[in-house]
Amino acid sequence: MSSNSLTSAGASGRTGDKVFSGFALGAGALILLVLFSVATFLVVQAAPTFVANPSEVAGGEGFWKYILPLVLGTVIAAAIALLIATPVSVGVALFISHFAPRRLAQGFGYIIDLLAAIPSVVYGAWGVAFLAPAMAPGYQWLADNAGWFPLFAGPASATGKTILTAGIVLAVMVIPIVTSLSREIFLQTPKLHEEAALALGATRWEMIRMAVFPFGRPGVVSAIMLGLGRALGETMAVALVLSSGPLIASLIRSGNQTIAAEIALNFPEATGLSLSTLIAAGLVLFVITLAVNMLARWIVGRHKEFSGAN
């Protein structure tokens, strides 16, 4: 009998391999399972709302009439947050990665990471107790001087509890996440590319534009999307800060509401159809987040040929 020595040898060392690959597969499958269960739960629970008589749904004019202002309110708050947070975060990340002296940079990075760990209710409390009153005179000034512009139409909120304040609070919450991730990306810029730019006679800022930004772009977009996820889904801070009301264009009046805050505020008393309506609102938020993430992937993937991956 001729036995092949290659077939029998080494099989005992493979157990670890099998365990690990099974574990990795299980972890991957679990994520899909959780996502699928959440989606199923939302769809099943929300279904009664879509088939109900429009006059019985909150607001009395059907679900879509009810949800549209909330969707817009959510998008407005998140957009304000990102408009503020993106430039600040990229600036801070660049400062830490390329401008600050090394010792200062380390301490700075640590503080940023700490900011990310503060619970959202604390941000909310800060927003309502400090930021809103502090912003109120500013809103009054905007209403007096820029009131002709629809976004700053008066009368300004006297308490400062407006969608703009909520957006600013969200920005402060998003900044640590985006900064932290952007800094990691910027630090990974290949030395080779940075030196290529410098050796051509680039200033530090030109080097950043030629080497650091192109390399970091996909990562920064991902970081912003993670931040957007937090801004879209943030519940507690918005519920505390915003004095909600119907959809209005002005950012400095009381009014507007976000989906997440609406759910949180109404959930305790909701039963039957109203509960189902809130869950349907959650489903809409889920879909928005999904759509935004796909959009981001598309943006990142558009220039694949030039990504440097080849």
Binding site: L198, G201, A202, E305
Partner: protein, 259 residues
């Protein structure tokens, strides 16, 4: 265009560590000068001080003078950005900007410092630079494709085109062929021979045959031991260094007895 370099009593430090000590060397304009020596002898470090690229590392500093046609690179008020735009550099590994097209890579240095260039001038410059780097015929039909799609040797020549597009006085090359195959190496060596008609070229190489093939003069650097500073041992015509060196260590090195 091309300028000479005179180095006087140059010491290079990383923090408190003296990396290169007491270098005096005169490099002629329109010539190729090779730096050879064992690993860690400070030849790359010294090369980088010739366009102040060593300053990229925190704590790096020099004592002494580097004169570019008589102007000290380290005089008060000299901006390293200006120095680097006049003394170009090609690196060990080809490093075209991955997100830029071949054309944009060539123009990368030209567009710096808010300089504007008309499209026709840019086209002419791209063609001239790529011709100058012996790359034009290979890439003229795909100037808008990414530079990272080229082969290693083509990428390195693209980097050379990028360096000569800004019309520097001097081109420094830090082991430009060490990541290339023999055919590409030959292409780059041919190019170096042509470049010396217009530029002062300084090349660091580990390959002694390469130094013998391309350079007019050769400088041999050596290090007495780990933790000791690198020194310039001997500097002479390439012919002399390889056939009749005056220092024993040089002879041992070029004949392959150590290093």
């Amino acid at each position: 265009m091309s300028k000479r370099i005179d180095v006087k009593d140059l010491n290079v430090y990383y923090g408190k560590f003296l990396a290169v000590e007491g270098v005096n060397i005169n490099i002629d304009a329109r010539s190729v000068t090779a730096f050879i020596g064992p690993s860690g002898c400070g030849k790359s470090t010294f090369l980088r001080t010739l366009n102040r690229m060593h300053e990229v590392l925190p704590g790096a500093r020099v004592e002494g003078e580097v004169l570019l046609d008589g102007d000290n690179l380290y005089a008060q008020g000299v901006d390293p950005v200006t120095v680097r735009s006049q003394i170009g550099m090609v690196f060990q590994r080809p490093n075209p900007f991955p997100t830029m097209s071949i054309r944009d890579n060539v123009l990368a240095g030209v567009k710096l410092n808010n300089r504007r260039i008309s499209k026709s001038d840019a086209d002419a410059l791209v063609e001239k630079s790529l011709q100058g780097a012996n790359l034009w015929n290979e890439v003229k039909d795909r100037l808008n494709k990414p530079g990272s799609g080229l082969s290693g040797g083509q990428q390195q020549r693209l980097c050379i085109a990028r360096a000569i597009a800004v019309q520097p006085d001097v081109i420094l090359m830090d082991e430009p062929c060490s990541a290339l195959d023999p055919i590409s190496t030959l292409a780059v060596e041919d190019l170096i021979n042509e470049l010396k008609e217009n530029y002062t070229v300084v090349i660091v190489t580990h390959n002694m045959q390469q130094a013998a093939r391309v350079s007019d003069k050769t400088a041999f650097f050596n290090i007495a031991g780990a933790g000791k500073p690198g020194k310039l041992i001997e500097y002479a015509d390439t012919q002399t260094i390889f056939s009749n060196p005056s220092v024993k260590a040089t002879e041992d090195y070029v004949s392959g007895r150590f290093g």
